[in-house]
Amino acid sequence: MSTQDSVHYAPQEWSAYLDGELPAARRDAMRGHLDGCPSCAAVLRSFEAVQRGAERLAEQPAPARPQLRTRLVAVGAAMAARNRTRRRWLLWLGAMAGIAVLAGMAVTTWRGVAQPQATAVSAPAVRLTLDRVLITRYFVEPPSLEYDVTIHNGESRPLEIFRVIVSDPMGEKERPVASALRVEPGQTLQRIFARPVAENASLRPGRYRILLETTDGRLVAEKVVP
C-alpha cells in the first residue's frame, strides 16, 4: 500500500502498530508506507505523543506513607500466619475425623447401635455484637446512620480490622478503615461505625448488618429493626 494509490492504513491499525501488536509482515509493510505518506506519519506521531505522555505520567512518584507501609506489611504477615494455622488445623481435623470415623465404625460393629452424644458449644473467642443502630443528627454535619458495636478479642494474638461493610434497607456502603483498628488480646472494644445519610432520612424497618474483615477472618453481626 502506498500514497500513489491514495490508500492509507486505518488509524486503528496505527494504534496497534504503535503497541507492537501486529504480525511482522503487516508491521514491515506499514513501516515502509510511512516514508511516503505524511498523513499516516502524522497519525502515528500523534498516537505516540499521547502514549509517551501516559508513560511519563506513570513514572511520577507516589506519595510516601511509611506508617501505611508498616501497617499493610503487618496485616499481610498476620494473614499469612492465619492461613498457615488454618491449614494445620484442617490437616489435624482431617486426621482426627478419619480416626473418629474408624473408631465409630469399630464401636458400631461391637455394640450394634451408636448412641447420640451431646456436644458442648463454647462461645467463639472473637466476637462482634451489634448493640444498636440509630440515626444521629448533629448541628453542623449531615446526619449519619450509626452502628454501635462491641468487639471482643479472646484470642492470644492481636486482631487487626482492615475493612468494614455495612448494609441496611437504604443500601450498602463498604469502606476500608482509614486508621489502624487493633483489638489487643483479651480486649473488649466499643466502637461506632457511621455512614452519612440524607437530611430527611429516618430509620427504616428491616435488617441491618455489619461485616468486619479482620486478620482472623470475617465477623458478622445483625439487628432487625421492626
Binding site: 501488536e21 500523534s46 499521547v50 511519563r56 511520577q60 507516589a62 507501609r69 496485616v75 494473614m79
Partner: protein, 180 residues
C-alpha cells in the same frame, strides 16, 4: 518495572514481613498510579490500601504463569473495577463514549509539547475524563511491559476489546487535548 527475585517471592508467600515490605516498595508507585487514574485522587489512598491487602492475601496462590508485576497490576485493576462497580450502583450512570471517534485528531507539534509540563497536566486531566474501560486500558498500557493479552486478562475482556478501547482512548485524548 522491578521483578522480585525467587527467594523474596518465596518469603512473601510465607508472609515474611521484610519480603512483603520489598513487594510493597517495588509496586507502590505503579499501583498508586493505576488506582489514582482509575478511581480518582480522593479515594486513591484507600483503594491502594485495599489493593495491597488483596495482593498480600493472594500472593501465596501466585503460580508464576505471568510476571509478578503484571499479576500485581491485574489484582489492583480488579480491586478498582469492583470498587467502581459498587460506586456506580450508588451514583448516576457514567458518561458513555462519543460516537465521533472514528477519525483521530492529530497534535500540531507533539514532540515539542511532550517536553512541556503543562502538556502532561492536560493529558492527566484528559485521562480522568475517559470512559472507564478506555481509562483502564490506556493506564495499563502505560506500563510498557503489559501486552494486549495481559491487559485483557486484567480487565477480564477480549483482545479485540482491548485493541478498540486503546484506539478510542487515544482518539478521545487527542480530541480533548486539542479542545483544551
Amino acid at each position: 518495572m522491578i521483578e522480585l527475585d525467587a527467594d523474596t517471592l518465596r518469603r512473601c508467600r510465607r508472609g515474611d514481613p521484610a519480603a512483603l515490605g520489598a513487594l510493597y516498595d517495588a509496586y507502590r508507585r505503579p499501583v498508586y498510579y493505576l488506582v489514582r487514574r482509575m478511581v480518582g485522587a480522593a479515594e486513591a489512598e484507600d483503594i491502594c490500601q485495599e489493593a495491597f491487602i488483596a495482593v498480600f492475601r493472594a500472593v501465596a496462590k501466585f503460580e508464576g504463569k505471568s510476571k509478578l508485576s503484571t499479576w500485581v497490576l491485574a489484582v489492583a485493576t480488579r480491586v478498582c473495577l469492583m470498587h467502581l462497580r459498587k460506586r456506580r450502583r450508588l451514583e448516576t450512570p457514567p458518561e458513555t463514549a462519543d460516537a465521533d471517534e472514528a477519525e483521530p485528531m492529530t497534535l500540531r507539534s507533539p514532540s515539542r509539547e511532550l517536553l512541556d509540563k503543562e502538556f502532561l497536566e492536560r493529558l492527566a486531566d484528559a485521562m480522568d475524563r475517559l470512559p472507564e474501560s478506555q481509562r483502564t486500558a490506556v493506564t495499563l498500557r502505560s506500563f510498557e511491559e503489559m501486552s494486549y493479552e495481559e491487559i485483557a486478562r486484567a480487565m477480564n475482556c477480549r483482545l479485540d476489546q482491548v485493541r478498540a478501547a486503546l484506539f478510542r482512548a487515544r482518539c478521545r485524548l487527542l480530541k480533548l487535548l486539542e479542545d483544551h
